[in-house]
Every structure is written in structure tokens, then in C-alpha cells.
Subunit: 293 residues, 2 copies
């Protein structure tokens, strides 16, 4: 991981540590489970997108950090719930027992609920002297809730679950990917743009970048699930196929999936053309493709 | 139920119908499960508290209705998740199969997540020409997230779950009740107060009212669980005891629990003394005690 990403990641980890109650805080089992999953070694891609997007508009981390933390809290909750026995039934994530295996199912459900709720508390908390105006913060909360909700991420997870074992089609895989993973990646870029005070043209470019990057991200993930070693992925390799999941390679084959990922990344980079100082975002797109991020 | 409560309830139902996607909207299984639980015949006590609290400050339903809907969405999500096999494992609620029995566990988890997320979307949505300023709305979102989160409702549910089968003590039952049920009832009154532009003294009185009412509500619920018929409750009677739940009667006995409920309701009413036009709130407190609401 290149230096600027490592730097962002460390900043995000410090900020998350600040907003989270310390281990031992009551109710201690709940707090412990929340911390366990939040500090399980995530790459912090979504918060990095928030910070990078704000940064190319000249906004510092102070303006964008609460949104950066909020997207990571929501990402973490979604992993906890997706891993549950009633959904993907995964015992391991990033090489560690999943939350419901390390604690119990009830606690894992509540820890997820609490992380989701905390995301909105962080974005609305005024006590910390938030530099972004209430007008903009209300817009950010609305954008986050929409991206994470029934016609965004949760909708994608539902269709993913409902379509297991069905014959994979292009509309199906595109719906799942643009919703389940794409919506929150796109929203991360958008939140940074709002925190940074983007004008209409900048907003348009950044939205398009986020959209293309979001889809590319999941295509690369699908490809890796088929080809990478179990060790590199931290989960069983080929597990999507074994489970009858709708994936890009299942619809298009590996070669065409790779070409499509490349094309999406190129389109993401092109969308940045009208935006000054967007080199970091362009680099991030490239790292997503090479999966060094 | 007296006429003004019926009227509020009908208003809330209409508003919820407006914000919810209609049956058949994609992803249809998710939307259907959300609607199933939201329109399962709830008494809408929390939204009625929001509207009544705003109303005694002279604010109309247009100012307070999005907060009223938000608290009901969060209440509904909490019921869906609490009923899950990994938590209370209930098959019926209000005489109908619980969400995970009518659909499936994965869908029920996601429907709960989606209702929780939608609550914040509703409160932050600017498109509807919201009459409350962004400054106040950010405060409302913060209050709601805090009340619903790890040191509010979710914390109470965690301790409730962790303490099943333990010897019931007063600190334990008070923690569970003030958090699990109390926090959201208190918050409902607070949101109405914020929407209605309460001054400091009004805010203080309404907060105290909400606190006392919130605790009384759960004490009455515990008493009814021990004494009422299964039919009246829509769930097995005495089910708390059978499950080793920490309840008020388990700590204080039935008679003292009844006296404490009466005292809490009196204190709730007394807290309204400095607030003009608070007759509706006083009536609601009385109805909670008599459980005609």
C-alpha cells in the first residue's frame, strides 16, 4: 500500500478509536463485539475515498473525518450481518472468527445495529464543533441513509440472498453489484465531495468516478474469489461458486470480466478529468484494479 | 382509545403509508417484510408522544411528523430483531407470525436494518420542504441516534439478553427498563419538544415527563405480562417469567410494582405543571397506566 494510503488509514484508525467507547465500557459485551469487528484489520477503503474526495477540493480531514468514520461503521455493520448464519453463514473473515463466532448471534446482530446507529450519531454530533454547516450535514446524512438503505446496500444484499442458485444473468449481477457494494463506495466519494463543497461540475465528475469505481471494485472481488489463494483472501477460495452466488465471472467468464474491470477503471479515471488535484483518486482506482488496496 | 389518540394514530398511519414504498416495489421481498411488520397493528404510542409533545408547544403535525414516523420505524425494527431466534425467539407478535416466521431470518434481519436506516433518511430528507431548520434537524437526528444506540435501546436489549436467568436486582431491572424501552419513549417526547421549538424550561419539564413515563410504561408491561390473559397481550402470558427475564415484579413483587407505576405516572404528570396545553400528554400518561393505550 502506497504511503498516502497508509497515512490516511492511520488517520482513520485514530479517529475511529476516538469515537468508539473503550473496551470495558458498559454494556461491555456489546462494546467489545463492536470493537472486535471494527478493528479487525479493515483496509478502510471507503473512508479513504471520503478523505481523498474531500482533499482534491481542498478540504482537510477535519471536515470529512466524521463522514469517513460513518461509512466505515456502516461497512463493518454490513459485514457482521452478512456473515450471520441466516445470511452467508461465514465462520471466518480476514482470517479471524466472524463476530457471531467470537461472541454469539444475538450479540452480533446488536453490535451491527449499534454500529449502524452510531454512524448517524457521528454525522449529526454537534458537540465536537463540526466545521461543516448543518445544511450540508443534513444532505450528507440523507445521502448516506439512501445509499445504505432498502434501495441501496440492503436491497443489494436481499437480492443477492434471494438469487442464490438461480441462473446468473447480466441484469441480476449488475443490480446486486451496483447496490450491495457499489452504493456505499459511490456514496463515500459523494460524502467527500459534499464535505469539500464541490460545485455542480465537480459533483458530477466525482459521482461518475464513484459509480465506475464501485462497480469495478466488486468485479475485481469476484475475479479474486475465483482465482486467488485462500490465504490471500482470508476466506475459502471459490466460495462464491460453491454457494451458487451470482458473480461477474459466472455471467461473463474470467477474461471478459477482467476486460470489463479494466474498462470501468479507465472510465473512473476519465471522469476525474475536470477535477484538479485528483491524482490520489486516480491512483486509488488503479490500486483497486491491481488489488493492492 | 379516546378520540384524539385515534385521530393521531390515523394521521401517523397515513404518513407512514406515504413514506413507505408500495407492496411490489423491488426488492419486493424486502419491501414486503418491512411493510408487514410496520403495518401489523401497532398502537403508535411513540409517534403519538412526538406529535402531542410538539402540539402543546403550538407546532402542527407537519413539523413533527417526520420525527413521529422515524421513531415508529425504529420501534418496529427493534421488535423484528428482538423476536429473532438468536434473541427472544418469538413466533408470534400481536397475534400474527413474527417477521422471521412470515418470511425468513435473513429477510427479517435485513428488513430491520432497512427500517432503522429509513428512520434517518426520513429525518434528513429535504425534498419534502421540511418546516424544521437544518440546525434543529441535526439535533433531532443526534438525539434519536443516541437514544436508539449502544448506550440507549440497543444497550438495554444486550443487558436484557445477557442477564436472563440471573438473580434479578433493582439496578439491573432499572438499567434494562430505562434503556430498552425508556430511552425511545423519552426521546419521542424530546423530538416533539425540539420540533416545537421548546425553551429551556419546557425542555426540562418534557424531558422529565418522558423519563417517568418511559419507566412507568415498562413497569406496567411487566405487570401485564404476569397478570393479563394471553389473548389480551397477543403473546403467551407469563412468558417473561418462564424465560427468566428480569422484570419489575420479579424484583419488587406485584403490589409494590403497581404502586411504583402509579407514583411514576403521578411524577410524569407533575413534570407537566409548567407547560401550557399539556392536557393531552397528561391523559396519555393516565392511559399508559390503565393500559388503554
Amino acid at each position: 500500500m502506497p504511503a498516502f494510503l497508509e497515512d490516511y488509514r492511520a488517520q482513520v484508525d485514530r479517529a475511529l478509536e476516538k469515537i468508539m467507547p473503550p473496551e470495558g465500557t458498559n454494556p461491555s459485551r456489546l462494546v467489545s463485539a463492536m470493537r472486535y469487528s471494527l478493528f479487525a484489520g479493515g483496509k478502510r477503503i471507503r473512508p479513504i475515498l471520503v478523505l481523498s474526495s474531500a482533499s482534491c477540493l481542498g478540504a482537510g480531514s477535519d471536515s470529512a473525518m466524521s463522514a469517513a468514520c460513518a461509512v466505515e461503521l456502516i461497512h463493518t455493520y454490513s459485514l457482521i450481518h452478512d456473515d450471520l448464519p441466516a445470511m452467508d453463514d461465514d465462520d471466518f473473515r480476514r482470517g479471524k472468527p466472524t463476530c457471531h463466532r467470537a461472541y454469539d448471534e444475538g450479540t452480533a446482530i446488536l453490535a451491527g445495529d449499534a454500529l449502524l446507529t452510531l454512524a448517524f450519531e457521528i454525522l449529526s454530533n454537534s458537540e465536537t464543533g463540526h466545521p461543516v454547516s448543518p445544511e450540508v450535514r443534513v444532505r450528507m446524512i440523507a445521502a448516506l441513509a439512501k445509499a445504505a438503505g432498502w434501495r441501496g446496500m440492503i436491497g443489494g444484499q436481499q437480492v443477492d440472498m434471494d438469487s442464490e442458485g438461480q441462473v446468473p444473468t447480466q441484469p441480476m449481477v449488475e443490480y446486486i453489484h451496483t447496490h450491495k457494494t457499489g452504493a456505499m463506495l459511490r456514496c463515500s466519494v459523494l460524502l467527500g465531495a459534499l464535505a469539500g463543497g464541490a460545485d455542480d461540475e465537480e459533483l458530477k465528475g466525482l459521482k461518475r468516478y464513484g459509480e465506475k469505481l464501485g462497480l469495478a471494485f466488486q468485479v475485481v472481488d469476484d475475479i479474486l474469489d475465483m482465482t486467488a489463494s485462500t490465504e490471500a483472501m482470508g476466506k475459502d477460495h471459490g466460495s462464491d461458486k460453491a454457494r451458487g452466488k451470482i458473480t461477474y465471472p459466472a455471467v461473463f467468464g474470467l477474461d471478459e470480466s477482467r476486460q470489463r474491470a479494466r474498462k470501468l477503471i479507465d472510465e473512473a479515471r476519465e471522469a476525474l478529468a475536470p477535477i484538479e488535484n485528483s491524482e490520489q483518486l486516480a491512483d486509488i482506482a488503479e490500486f483497486v484494479l491491481l488489488r493492492r488496496l
